[in-house]
């Protein structure tokens, strides 16, 4: 088992008094408490370590064992028994040595214990504790959140039927009350927080409920005007391109964007940017005609 330096964690010396330990714990607990550091995994881990260190060092018996046996302090009782038996067999002239179990008041992993009981170090009576909140991440495509839909998630072995509202944003967090871990001593359940990660779309970039897309426009339609079919998220639309449309011209298609979160039937806009494409692999005839055109311009027409 890797050695955890509890004195280091509490930033105190090995000679610190009980009062020093208490003061150090209080100071660090206020700094790293999860309530005061929302969405901070590092603070949460640090808080668990601080609680574990305090539980051991603030108890004189446990501290004594920890100081004597270091990383093996949890097996202190075994060692003590073994030492006693050894010294007994020496005085009685030999005999079988046997090692019993420790008696088990340190069963289980301390860190797991504190994971479910953070913040309760000062209150050890039968208080009701609210269960811990759970966090989950749901990865979706853009089209998955274009319409409100239901999905079944499995969290901690339990199936949860979840309604994903249309328009939910990347990074948005939704709370499902009461679906966290069960409370202790009859306390209420914690909550489940689901963070949505929405993948980028190859054609459309999203900003809130507006969408942005770039569409290629051939030279002739750009110069002479015409019709152009463009894709939207709910099908194709035909656009009228005005003559002499420049590259990077933007057009707004009202209501063709993304659904507005929690506003049924309301949509943002789609902004199309034209990218005028020049023809390539010109034939000799085309080159001739373009050369003539260029001369027309050069002559000031």
């Amino acid at each position: 088992m890797e050695f955890i330096d509890y004195y280091n964690i509490l930033e105190i010396q090995k000679t610190s008094t009980e009062a020093d330990i208490k003061a150090a714990y209080r100071k660090l607990a206020r700094k790293y408490h999860p309530d005061l550091n929302p969405n901070d995994e590092n603070a949460k881990k640090k808080f668990q370590q601080i609680n574990e260190a305090n539980e051991v060092l603030s108890d004189p018996e446990k501290r004594k064992k920890y100081d004597k046996y270091g990383k093996d302090w949890k097996h202190a009782d075994e060692f003590e028994k073994a030492n006693q038996q050894q010294s007994q067999s020496r005085t009685s002239g030999g005999g079988q040595q046997s090692y019993g179990s420790s008696g088990g008041d340190f069963s289980g992993d301390f860190s797991e214990f504190f994971e479910s009981m953070y913040g309760s170090g000062a209150r050890t009576k039968q208080t009701k504790f609210r269960g811990q909140d759970l966090n989950a991440e749901l990865h979706l495509n853009l089209m998955d959140v274009y319409k409100t839909q239901q999905q079944t998630l499995t969290v901690n072995g339990k199936n949860i039927r979840l309604t994903i509202p249309a328009g939910v944003e990347n990074g948005q967090v939704i709370k499902i009350a009461g679906h966290g871990t069960p409370g202790a001593n009859g306390g209420p359940n914690g909550d489940l927080y689901i963070t949505f990660t929405i993948a980028s779309h190859p054609k459309f970039k999203r900003e809130g409920s507006n969408l942005y897309a770039t569409v290629d426009l051939d030279l002739y339609t750009a110069l002479l005007g015409g019709d152009l079919q463009v894709d939207t998220l709910d099908g194709k639309v035909k656009l009228k391109v005005a003559p002499e449309t420049q590259s990077n011209t933007k057009v707004k298609l009202k209501g063709k964007g993304f659904p507005v979160y929690k506003k049924e039937g309301e949509f943002g806009d789609l902004y199309i940017t034209y990218n005028v494409k020049l023809p390539t692999n010109l034939t000799e005839k085309e080159k001739e005609l373009f050369t003539e055109l260029s001369k027309l311009r050069a002559n000031g027409n």
């Binding site: 209080r26 607990a29 206020r30 408490h33 309530d35 005061l36 929302p38 969405n39 913040g119 309760s120 170090g121 000062a122 209150r123 009576k125 208080t127 009701k128 609210r130 944003e169 990347n170 990074g171 948005q172 009859g186 306390g187 209420p188 909550d191 980028s200 190859p202 970039k205 999203r206 900003e207 809130g208 942005y212």
Partner: protein, 99 residues
């Protein structure tokens, strides 16, 4: 009034083994809303999480009412800034080059 969504403060304090005066203090500082109905005082269900958080601050971390007030305000700002950061990061994605 829908009493289903209201929690009787007396029961809440008994279950959590805290003094009624603590809830009174939170109310006096404007940190929570107390509903009075037929001479009974209630908390709203959606406030429970915040009240429990303030209980932990006070009883576990020894933070006084003034401190809870300041921390609650700062936590609201932190949450708001985290939301703003998320929105800004999403906007920046618009300018990321496609591979």
């Amino acid at each position: 009034m829908e009493t289903r969504e209201l929690i009787l403060i007396e029961h809440f304090c008994t279950n959590h083994e805290i003094e009624f005066s603590f809830i009174d203090s939170l109310h006096a500082f404007g940190l929570i809303e107390v509903i009075i109905h037929e001479d009974n005082k209630y908390l709203q269900q959606e406030q429970l999480k915040d009240v429990e958080k303030m209980m932990r601050m006070h009883y576990d971390l020894d933070i006084n009412m003034e401190g809870i007030d300041v921390i609650s305000h700062l936590l609201k700002r932190v949450n708001s800034l985290q939301d703003e950061l998320r929105i800004t990061q999403n906007k920046l994605k618009l300018y990321e080059k496609e591979d």
